[in-house]
């Protein structure tokens, strides 16, 4: 591993100070399962993605940890571990979607170390991006190897130049729950709805979010869901433990007499960002869910543009969406 300096700030302000000093040569460190045991161990680097000279350890900042819930909703510190989220009774009662999504991440060992912030901000799993000898767009290179290469796990929606899929289960769930991110930077704090947090390759090919190198995700706020909101999570994977989604679906919607009032369907594993399937939501609006879900789920076909080896994911996205919506109702 390339050598680096380790900083252990006590406050967010101090941490931001180090990030400002090093620019894109510093990275915040939380659980480290992706950054240290992934990116740095495997020398995932390029012109647009230097390996860090400095790591800023966020686990030494007490403020970043913890779950608070009140009538407005829940606030979760970015450094809260996935295990803490899974074990929170308050979250489970009100946001079972998040609990299930967090529980579907990797393995118990990873969840004990992995944090919410780290899970949201982990880098993609594309095997070309991860391979140190593939100098791809995402690392500042000039090629996407997935277009003519083995793209069985790549994007079926929204790929342009780069065809990664967003790897985060919790991000998919949080977008469905209409959550917001609190970001701290040199100019203070700002709230960004997850609707605007993730960016696709056309907007920024080197990053998957609006987070700037000198900024930190400090906490996540989830608003209390409207009464009668149904939630469900599904994740299809090729291995039951320690695997990313081929397709995942997060559904959160308000229902009256089996009729869709309002809500969100978000798909993971299909696009460079957690993908809000508005085409499906629109088809369901004001309709009896049970009778229209089949046709609504098929609307994913109108937006999907599969690659040479991944058309099967379109079928899976459709099936899984239908099943997840019905599971939420049940």
């Amino acid at each position: 591993m390339k050598s680096f300096e380790l900083y252990e700030p006590k406050t967010v302000r101090e941490a931001v100070g180090v990030l400002v000093k090093f620019g894109n040569k510093a990275r915040p460190l939380a659980g480290g399962s992706d950054l240290v045991a992934g990116v740095m161990k495997d020398w995932v680097q390029g012109k647009g993605m230097p390996l860090p000279d400095a790591l800023v350890d966020l686990t030494t900042i007490p403020q970043l940890k913890g779950i608070k819930a009140d009538a407005r909703g829940a606030t979760i510190g970015a450094n809260t571990t996935l295990t803490e989220i899974v074990e929170s009774k308050e979250l489970k009662d009100r946001f079972p979607l998040l609990t299930e999504a967090a529980q579907s991440v990797a393995s118990p060992l990873i969840r004990n170390f992995g944090t919410l912030g780290g899970n949201i901000n982990q880098r993609p799993r594309c095997w070309f991006f991860r391979g140190k000898d593939f100098n791809c767009y995402k690392k500042g290179g000039d090629f996407c190897y997935s277009v003519s290469g083995d793209n069985r796990y790549h994007a079926i929606i929204g790929g342009e130049l780069c065809y990664i899929v967003h790897p985060s289960d919790t991000a998919t769930a949080l977008l469905a729950l209409n959550a917001q991110a609190k970001i701290a930077g040199p100019a203070g704090e700002r709230m960004v709805p997850f609707d605007n947090y993730f960016v696709g390759p056309r907007q920024d090919i080197l990053n998957e979010s609006v987070l700037k190198p000198e900024e930190l995700l400090v906490e996540v706020f989830i608003p209390a869901p409207a009464p009668g909101t149904k939630q469900a999570w599904s994740k299809l994977k090729n291995r039951e433990v320690y695997d990313f989604a081929i397709v995942s679906v997060a559904a959160a919607f308000a229902v009256q007499n089996d009729t869709w009032v309002d809500g969100r369907i978000v798909l993971g594993g299909v696009a460079p960002v957690p993908y809000r399937a508005t085409a499906i939501e629109t088809q369901l609006k004001g309709k009896n869910i049970k009778t229209s879900v089949k046709q609504a789920a098929a609307a994913i076909r109108t937006v999907a543009r599969p690659m040479s080896m991944n058309a099967y994911k379109v079928d899976l996205a459709q099936t899984l969406t239908e099943r997840t919506i019905l599971a939420a109702l049940a």
């Binding site: 591993m1 390339k2 095997w127 070309f128 593939f134 299809l236 090729n238 291995r239």
Partner: protein
């Protein structure tokens, strides 16, 4: 003798074999590559053995005779044995599960250096220049070894067969992962960082990545090759009867493929080496300490007795790829010599995946002719194997089952080994047999459906229970019929087997059931089989064996064999976990599932030798004791036996002596020893049948295994507990290869895509079927220790065809390309809807 014998060429080139002198044959018998071929690729070596057995010091095969019942045909009756058949937990299990055992990876020495290797990112290239200046200047770097500064004495050292040659550092590299330079530094991270400071200039050359492309005449040759393209060897076909003209009512044809797999031993390959004056001491994660010693001794050009290899017995398994040494181990030894310090090398997971060997990719072009009455008429099977970037052979390894399992009167077997600039092939738990079993059993299944016959009945009708029709060696007490019947009964074949796609259990979810049979050469045992048994003055017993423990509990089993043979309680017997070449004799590698009948045979014969001595002394003592009491007694050794640590008169069991009294009477410890040569007359064969019941969700491609049955003829269950673990473990490992595991490369660059546990996806505990019903069938073998046949590898082969058969039964789609990945399954389902 001035040139090393090329073991592989001996089996592939009959003219070369004929040209060998007696001295060549003698050296071949000691060659680790040959030893591995004999153990793992029995079927490749068999024709050579048949011709040259005398030169190799092995008895010639005998004429085929009807399978005679072995000495003891009754199924295991536990009361017959004191120790055998008891469920004995691993003697060293605590050290394994707690990590308190001495794993090589955990070993540290003062002043120890760490290495990291810079490897080629190109599948085929010329290394034009290497600049190590920046790496050498990094604080903490102690030495950098590369082609430019390799000591002169090692410049001609190479591993394996050529061409193309594999030198310590090639100028022309043929694979991604070929070593370019090795850094030794104060810690692993410095060594790693330094490799990234080495500047290499490559001239990229055209690579052949596709196996079938390698077979074409138009493909660029990479060395002086008399075959097309990059073909390594075309084995002379095996022809039985008249396969070209034989007629059949129905002929079934298919092309069946398997993709590259890697073992993924939990502990990555690693070593700790240092020089004690002129001797190399190497702690090494290997499956054959003496084989690794031979490899190091030959590469370093020092006699075998100046290399000491220790394998601590606590090892994160091997599965076949750790019998000899790789280039990295020789680099490590040289760096230890140059720096004068202990050197530790731990492969990264990616290196273990890429730089070592794999189960190769296979392609089988199959044609099977059957008559409507259910008799097989003919078979024409052509096997291709992608042996990767080296001269190796594995295609005809698939022949064994094709020759032996069913009666096929007209048969033609062809095999072609193809080099590609890709993953090197090598032993991997049953090597080529799972391919042969998958290919043959798929054909059997297709043929049965084609003629409308129950596949189980079809198998039973065509079983060959006599012997190998080609080399005329008989089977010993084959249990294949019992295996198939047991698997069918336990899965409920008669009640549950149904017409294709006939049982939809929930909307879109189909039920299916499948069965497969298996025969392979593994578990046979080989030469030399050696061992020593020491009986101390206090009556305690020590086993000394050169058998390398890699996880399955070989050494526990050896203690059990010793206790049984000697007639002492197991608690009286000890055996070290580790193996040290300084004080043991070679007893073959722990590969080819051979240690039951190799290390186990050696220790059995040694125990019998000790027992003979004990009985002789005991006879003297009985006479002497009587004399002291002024009595007259005539006792000879053959009137005595040992049981439960006591020597007694067979005619008067109450007259007995404790073992301790016998040994003290002589005043000297007893040393039993054996160097045993196997009986070569048998077609030693492992038999098995697996059956599976599953449900398949056609919308998601999720396959849920409801029940799995694995029936194996183990000859004799020495330790049923260990046997069950071996079989369960094999099934789980094979299921990983059925559904997920395939090592992929990018077709444009030749770079690996998923050389890590996350993307390669071995199964997790949650992916394992809830029930694996293990059935042990005991048909004692005449050649086996207490009738036993080895078990390690056979469970690996039947899962693929059994699952594929069950999927066909469920939904009517033939899955002809392994693995049955979700995308392939969903694509196939689209065609049968």
């Amino acid at each position: 003798m001035n040139e090393k014998v090329d073991a592989l060429r001996v089996v592939q080139d009959p003219a070369y074999a004929a040209s060998l002198t007696e001295a060549h044959w003698q050296s071949l018998a000691l060659d680790p590559t040959w030893s591995e071929l004999v153990g793992e690729f029995h079927e490749m070596v068999a024709p050579v053995m048949a011709l040259y057995a005398q030169n190799l010091g092995v008895p010639v095969s005998q004429v085929l005779r009807p399978a005679t019942a072995a000495a003891d045909t009754t199924p295991g009756r536990p009361e017959q044995f004191q120790v055998l058949g008891k469920r004995v937990p691993r003697l060293h299990g605590l050290g394994v599960v707690t990590n308190l055992g001495q794993f090589t990876q955990n070993m540290r020495m003062p002043g120890m250096l760490h290495t990291r290797t810079l490897r080629s990112p190109h599948p085929h290239a010329k290394v034009k220049s290497v600049n190590i200046a920046k790496a050498q200047a990094l604080p903490g770097v102690v030495a950098v070894l590369y082609r430019g500064n390799l000591p002169a004495e090692y410049r001609d050292v190479k591993l394996g067969s050529g061409p193309p040659d594999r030198y310590l550092f090639n100028e022309e590299v043929f694979e991604v992962g070929a070593p370019i330079a090795v850094v030794a530094a104060e810690n692993e991270h410095i060594a790693d960082e330094a490799t990234h400071l080495i500047e290499v200039e490559y001239e990229v050359l055209p690579a052949t990545l596709d196996m079938m492309e390698g077979t074409r005449a138009s493909t660029v040759k990479q060395w002086e090759n008399k075959e097309n393209g990059t073909i390594i060897a075309v084995t002379p076909p095996l022809v039985r009867g008249n396969p070209d003209t034989a007629r059949a009512d129905t002929t079934v044809e298919a092309v069946l493929t398997k993709s590259t797999e890697q073992h993924m031993a939990l502990e990555p390959t690693n070593s700790l080496m240092y020089w004690d004056q002129d001797r190399l001491i190497a702690y090494y994660t290997c499956q054959h300490a003496h084989g690794s010693r031979a490899g190091l001794s030959q590469a370093l050009k020092i006699p075998a007795n100046r290399v000491r290899v220790i394998q601590p017995g606590y090892m994160g398994s091997g599965y076949g790829y750790r019998s000899g040494v790789e280039l990295t181990e020789i680099h490590t030894a040289i760096l230890a010599k140059i720096t004068g310090r202990p050197v530790k090398t731990i492969y990264t997971r990616e290196e273990d995946f890429v730089a070592r060997t794999h189960r190769p990719e296979f392609r089988n072009e199959m044609k099977l002719g059957v008559n409507r009455d259910g008799t097989i008429q003919s078979g024409q099977f052509r096997v291709y194997s992608n042996v990767g970037a080296q001269r190796a052979g594995s295609a005809n390894g698939a022949w064994f089952i094709m020759q032996d399992l069913y009666k096929i009167p007209n048969l033609k077997l062809e095999a072609t080994d193809v080099f590609t600039n890709s993953f090197k092939s090598g032993p991997y738990r049953c090597v080529s047999h799972p391919n042969g079993t998958f290919a043959l059993e798929m054909m059997i299944e297709k043929a049965a459906y084609a003629i409308g016959m129950d596949p189980v009945e079809f198998r039973l009708k065509n079983l060959n229970e006599e012997g190998n029709p080609d080399n005329k060696k008989p089977f010993s007490n084959p249990g294949i019929r019992d295996c198939i019947n047991a698997a069918a009964n336990r899965i409920g074949w008669k009640q549950k087997w149904h017409a294709v796609r006939a049982k939809e259990v929930r909307p879109g979810v189909f039920h299916g059931i499948g069965l497969a049979a298996h025969a392979c050469s593994h578990g046979a045992g080989t030469n030399p089989a050696t061992g020593q048994v020491i009986v101390n003055l206090d009556g305690s017993v020590q086993c000394v064996s050169g058998c390398t423990e890699i996880g399955p509990g070989q050494r526990t089993q050896m203690a059990m064999i010793t206790a049984e043979a000697l007639g002492v309680p197991l608690t009286r017997v000890s055996i070290t976990t580790y193996i040290d070449t300084d004080n043991t004799t070679d007893t073959g590698g722990t590969n080819g599932s051979r240690q039951t009948n190799t290390g186990g045979r050696g220790i059995y014969e040694a125990a019998m030798d000790a027992k003979r001595q004990i009985l002789a002394i005991a006879a003297e003592k009985f006479v002497d004791d009587a004399k002291r009491r002024n009595q007259q007694l005539q006792v000879t050794a053959d009137q005595l036996d040992v049981k439960n640590g006591e020597v007694f008169l067979k005619t008067e069991p109450s007259r007995k002596l404790r073992l301790q009294e016998v040994v003290s009477f002589a005043g000297l410890p007893i040393l039993g020893r054996a160097i045993y040569k196997q009986d070569g007359k048998w077609e030693r064969t492992a038999w098995a049948s697996h059956a599976v019941e599953l449900e398949l969700d056609t919308a998601t491609g999720v396959v849920h295994i409801l029940k799995y049955v694995a029936a194996h003829d183990v000859g004799r269950a020495i330790n049923p507990f260990a046997l069950e673990q071996q079989i369960e473990g094999g099934v789980v490992m094979a299921l990983g290869a059925v559904f997920n595991e395939e090592l992929l490369i990018d077709r444009a660059t030749g770079l690996p895509l998923n050389a890590n546990m996350l993307d390669y996806r071995p199964p997790s505990i949650k992916d394992v079927p809830e029930e694996i019903d293990v059935v042990l069938i005991e048909h004692p073998k005449e050649y086996g220790v207490f009738g036993a046949h080895g078990i390690g590898e056979p469970p690996m082969a039947p899962p693929a065809p059994a699952i594929a058969a069950a999927i066909y039964n469920a939904v009517g789609a033939w899955m002809e390309q392994m693995p049955i990945s979700r995308e392939k399954l969903l694509a196939a389902l689209r065609n049968v809807r």
